[in-house]
Amino acid sequence: MPEVTVPIGPHHPALKEPVNFKVIADGEKIVRLELDLSYSHRGIEKAAEQRDFIRVLPLLERVCGICSHSHSTVFVKGIEEIMQVEIPPRAQYIRTIIAELERMHSHLLWLGVAAHEIGFNTLFMWTWRDRELVQDTLEEMSGNRVHYGMNEVGGVRCDLAPHQVSAALERLPFLEERIHQYTDMVNDQQTMLLRFKGVGKLSREEVLNYGAVGPTARASGVDYDVRRDDPYLAYADVPWNVVTDTNGDVYGRTCVRIGELHESVNIVRYCLENIPEGPVRINAPKIAPDGEIMSRYEAPRGELVHFIRTNGTNKVERIDIRTPTLANWTSVAMCLVNKNLADIPVIVAAIDPCLSCTSRITLINTPGGKPGIITFDELRKRRQISDKGRGLP
């Protein structure tokens, strides 16, 4: 069969993300592929530079719809380090609880999406059903399901009431049981094993070469987790383990994520039970001194880095966001070559891509043309001409 180009994305049911793969396939085999990442450059970094530390947080939360707490925490953590303020331990614990709950809902979401990519919609429905429990807890604690708005420079915005703590603790045993069930399902559901095992394999060396992070790296045996190696928030106090796996394929990544679900439940339980009393915030200065910081954080998808430079005002001079998806992309592109066409969705989904968060540049491809501005009227005129060409009224 001659080579054909299969366009996947930006409008495709598999990836509801602004990315375009031009897959050149020979029958069912992928020969090579071209990636086009930046379809939605949102200019968040520039917008963040225009706002003071209070107003920038809702914006940074909206970098990502799933790891919203990650982005605000990593920023706040960096700013607090520059300001050299120590936030109260209760605030640290509350941030940790929210962060781990977020990791749980992100991983449950991922498990459902991965199952959906191989057509196993049942698991998708079930994980998303159980994810509601986590979301309910988050909603009770913070007031919103996705954009929690918990962080501010100097602490957290609202305290946890005792009834919220007990309600969250009540939900945990059921959640734990469900997670155990998912472990069983992943290990004995034949079609899932067929589609996950040996697919998208990355060796330890390849992972280190391409700089993959997070569950993708840990599935290949790279024992690296920012929460342990550079402890922040309350992770140093909490007993927990880094989950690694040696499979290196999609199955390994699933195992790592399910293992992390278990760990997250334990961390949340420990934090809820041992949460110290005290204030939840201190009055932080409005202005940060000159400084540069590289703030790291283990988001559900991997290591998230914010580079922050301040210049003695109440705004950042420069903020650069490196999302985990960007670090993982190269490994995806590498392990797709020579694979089956049917494996694209599951391999891409295995890194839990979040592309809108990743887009940092806009490529304007104008071969032989000039960039310019098109007004709406002109756009409409062009549409009419094109309609006429196609014989439409």
Binding site: P58, L59, T122, L123, R129, H147, G149, C158, D184, Q189
Partner: protein
Amino acid sequence: MSVLVEMFRNLLTMPSTILYPGERVPIPDKFRGRIAVSDEICIGCSKCSLVCSVQCISMVDSPREIRFKDKILLRKKKPAVKLFKCIRCGLCERHCPTGAIYLKNELSDSGTDKEVIAA
């Protein structure tokens, strides 16, 4: 096997989804819903409009004024919120010194009119 067990157990139990417009899920107390301003305790400090992350709060003249012998000495301001722009981040509520501006615990309908202003 665990898949089959779960499948047939679900067949015998009630579904966990709801038929939305008829049934509603309970909304927690802390829920950040539609914004509201209580005029009586607002002191017109305009802090909310300064911290609003999307700048949807503007200060407008309020009918409350301080008069002295038919002369308006001071006309108080009050916040007006463009609900369409509001992202319910809750910063105004957090920074309001008197608690006059707050987010109600109710799910406002989608498609709020662009011109609706809460006051």
